[in-house]
Symmetry: C7
Subunit: 74 residues, 7 copies
């Protein structure tokens, strides 16, 4: 059943805006462009937020998988 | 004996509501949609709770395995 | 010699009540249902304890191996 | 689709100036010279910045992948 | 030369009482029953000590390798 | 293209004096004698520095890769 | 070139007294008896030191590699 693998679920968010949270609480929001089995992630048109407010725009950002805690739709 | 592997036990919770606790104490509750051998988990209709109270609804959430401590039925 | 591998020793506790301690000091007690080579563990009829007192009952709990420090008989 | 892998996206930044942020908040800025699958990174004409101000110039710097959190264009 | 591998050296302590120290400073003392390449360890007739005084007896204890710092004869 | 791999870049520093910084901020300076794919490093004629001042001379020092953050020319 | 691998360099210290420093700053000094590719180390006639003073003698000590930061001659 295709539904049963977490990366398949993540694949459905390709091209959509997602929130990526990092260890320590940092938060990046952007369009999900790419990810791999290590959960390394690339977001386009991304920005960092702090307390739900814009901290800075970073354009395309590469986020190393082992620093990520959760990913969910914006 | 099928019972003897932890991921088989987890498989029985598929489609049921579970509590996923993260290092540092964060707690996500949702319907267990998917997991893999790294214990990466996807929950549907998920919410984050703090001190057993709703903090925010996150819809479908991907949780990276290495940030997870325990998973149990809601 | 069968005795010489740690997971064999752990296997003898299958079905018996064990204490599983986590990094940071959390403690789960339950019947050892399953474990694997990563020391992921599933306990049945489990409860979390704090300072040796019942904190909450969690039924069946999946504990991710890399969060575990020690396991011993109750 | 070539777009779908994070390291391909990183490859497009080769020769361009990027910001590399480390666990704990340190920040190196330089021209992306090389990286590998562990996300070990080499920057040329690099400098360390603190609070967006130049802390010191380090020339060519090798940054070990597991200390990196995010990489984005300067 | 058999002497040259750390696990061979550890093997000589089989059946003897050893001190196992954990990250964060916890200390278990017991008879070395088993270990594997991950340095997962099982001690028999074990006790936890704090400041060199008995804290509690734990009987047979499984200690996950990645939580161990040093092992030496009692 | 030889330029494209981080360890090739590091190889060019063989025999030259480099600064190796560790997690937590420790700093060793010496002649780069050897390294491997884990980024384990051996420095000759090495010294530890604190706040850019000599703390102690250590001669030849082996530095375990996973404790290293960055390496750059002295 | 034999010189080029860190473990070869370490091999030259076999039988000689070395200082092994651990994450968090602990320090063991002893005769290097054995090590492996994980940099697990066994020291003979070893002692723990604190602030360069003898804390306790531990005889033969097994030190788990991932807790080690640096090794250098006494």
């Amino acid at each position: 059943m295709e539904q049963s693998r977490p990366l398949d679920a993540l694949n459905k968010s390709k091209g959509k805006r997602v929130v990526v949270e990092l260890k320590g609480g940092r938060q990046f929001v952007g369009s999900l462009n790419a990810f791999d089995i290590h959960v390394n992630v690339v977001l386009n048109e991304a920005e960092e937020r702090e307390n739900n407010e814009l901290k800075r725009k970073v354009g395309t950002v590469f986020i190393r998988g082992d620093t990520i805690t959760v990913i969910f739709p914006e």
